[in-house]
């Protein structure tokens, strides 16, 4: 089975399933229960949405992965383009190469700390109240299989 192309509808569907399932057991085993209690508490009450942008897709356009949370699960997850931009609580942007690096295993904490992904619109203090939830979700998204076009072909 070929992996879905990055930022395709099929990839967005796989991201939705992975976020709904949450972190795998081996991830949970490596951190204190207190940390996962916090994660689970945030997830259960989280009602915000993210527009996770890719600024420079190989096709030459910018697009976002729109993720809506509610009731402890993902209620919406789809790729949006220039003509379809639902208002999101937090709009974030990242370059294609950094998305690929995340997919290849680059650390999600450092993706945030080194400003590879940035909040472009939204209240930063509010965003950070759930930052551990966000970085774990970023790790989950990074692990979803995706086909990346070679940068040289861009």
């Amino acid at each position: 089975m070929t992996e879905p192309e990055f930022f395709s509808p099929e990839w967005a569907a796989a991201v939705r399933d992975a976020l709904t399932a949450g972190p795998p057991e081996q991830d949970r085993a490596g951190k204190l229960p207190m940390y996962w209690d916090f994660f689970d508490k945030v997830k259960a009450s989280y009602a915000s949405s993210w527009a996770l942008g890719c600024r420079d897709l190989p096709a030459g356009n910018a697009a976002s992965l729109y993720v809506q949370w509610g009731g402890g699960t993902v209620t919406g997850c789809r790729v949006t383009g220039p003509g379809d931009q639902p208002a999101a609580t937090f709009v974030l942007g990242m370059d294609y190469a950094d998305w690929q690096a995340l997919h290849d295993g680059y650390d999600p904490q450092r993706t945030v700390m080194y400003r590879k992904i940035l909040v472009e619109h939204g209240n930063i203090l509010e965003f950070f109240k759930s930052i551990y939830f966000f970085t774990e979700c970023l790790a989950i998204i990074g692990r979803v299989p995706a086909g990346f076009r070679a940068l040289a072909a861009r």
Binding site: M113, L118, V119, F128, Y132
Partner: protein, 325 residues
């Protein structure tokens, strides 16, 4: 071991701390340096005075000789001591790099004398980054071609919750970059950087690792360089507290920005992802937690920032996870 707290420094002790060259720093007690950080907190020195102190106190990180530290690390310290030490020091290794690169944008909107102080602080933070790079290469034995390679190698010891204060600082720096004269954004940034990261986290790491090194008689170059770093931090904390104090005096509604920032920071500080074992270094989790309370309380009291009841309650939930910068 937990004897940090208000203690009087004699004029002679102050002169010894202020005037010690790098070799003499080895004889300075870390508790006295931490007290020195707070010495002028109630009548904070101006930025030009802090800059003049910097010119006298700057030290050459390449003058340190880590050969005895390497012997202590490999032959005298136990594995439990090494693991505890790395679990604490690695947050500082990464923290120094973070504060070094996040500070330049704060200088744009600063007054002229404050710019002198911040430029000196940037140089301090760069020197501290090199200090940890040398420690991890020459004592711990990590290998890498450049500074980032050593950071990559020490990152496995960094707790997942490190992204809380340091990710927040990165994003607040970006907010300041976009609007460098937005005083509210600057106060939020200053609360994270100067009050929490430098005033609470950094001084607590210094106290724990340096009191261990002094107690055991180990790691003389680490003790020397990191105690000199603590003296540098005294200028940073005093300059940072002066900035926050002036901002609130000029516009009392700025206290809301400090409180809102602390509300996010304290929420995140109430969570730990790893258990850090402090006992091999002569500390307990409760002692470290108490140390952090003391550091926060002294900064807030000295600059006249009161916490509303909900924030006071959050302080009681802070987990003893240390990092710094």
């Amino acid at each position: 071991m937990l004897h940090e707290g208000p203690r009087a420094l004699s004029d002679q002790q102050v002169r010894q701390i202020e005037g010690a060259d790098l070799k003499e720093v080895l004889d300075v007690d870390i508790d006295d340096v931490i007290e020195y950080v707070h010495k002028d907190m109630r009548s904070l020195p101006d930025y030009t005075t802090l800059y003049r102190k910097y010119l006298k106190q700057r030290w050459d990180v390449y003058d340190l000789d880590f050969s005895q530290d390497r012997t202590d690390w490999t032959e005298k310290m136990t594995d439990a001591e090494r693991q505890s030490f790395l679990a604490i020091a690695s947050g500082f290794h990464h923290g120094e790099r973070q504060v070094e690169i996040e500070l330049p944008v704060f200088m744009i909107g600063a007054g002229e004398e404050e710019k002198l102080h911040i430029s000196a602080q940037i140089e301090d933070e760069a020197r501290h980054t090199v200090f940890f790079d040398r420690f991890y290469r020459e004592v711990v034995g990590l290998e890498g071609d450049d500074i980032m390679a050593i950071l990559d190698a020490s990152f496995p010891w960094v707790s997942e919750t490190f992204v809380g204060p340091f990710g927040l600082l990165a994003y607040q720096a970006d907010e300041v970059r976009k609007n460098p004269y937005d005083e509210r954004a600057r106060v939020r940034y200053g609360t994270t950087y100067f009050l929490w990261i430098e005033g609470v986290l950094a001084l607590s790491v210094m106290k724990v690792t340096l009191s261990y090194a002094r107690w055991r008689g180990f790691l003389p170059a680490y003790y020397t360089g990191f105690t000199a770093t603590c003296r540098d931090e005294s200028r940073h904390v005093q300059g940072g507290m002066k900035y926050l104090q002036d901002a609130v005096r000029k516009d009392p509604t700025m206290i809301k920005e400090i409180h809102e920032t602390l509300r996010t920071i304290l929420l995140l500080a109430g969570v730990a992802s790893r258990e850090v074992i402090y006992e091999p270094l002569g500390w307990t989790q409760d002692e470290v937690r108490m140390l952090m309370f003391q550091q926060l309380g002294r900064k807030l009291n000295d600059v006249g920032i009161k916490l509303p009841p909900d924030l006071q309650a959050m302080v009681g939930s802070v987990q003893p996870v240390l990092a710094g910068g």
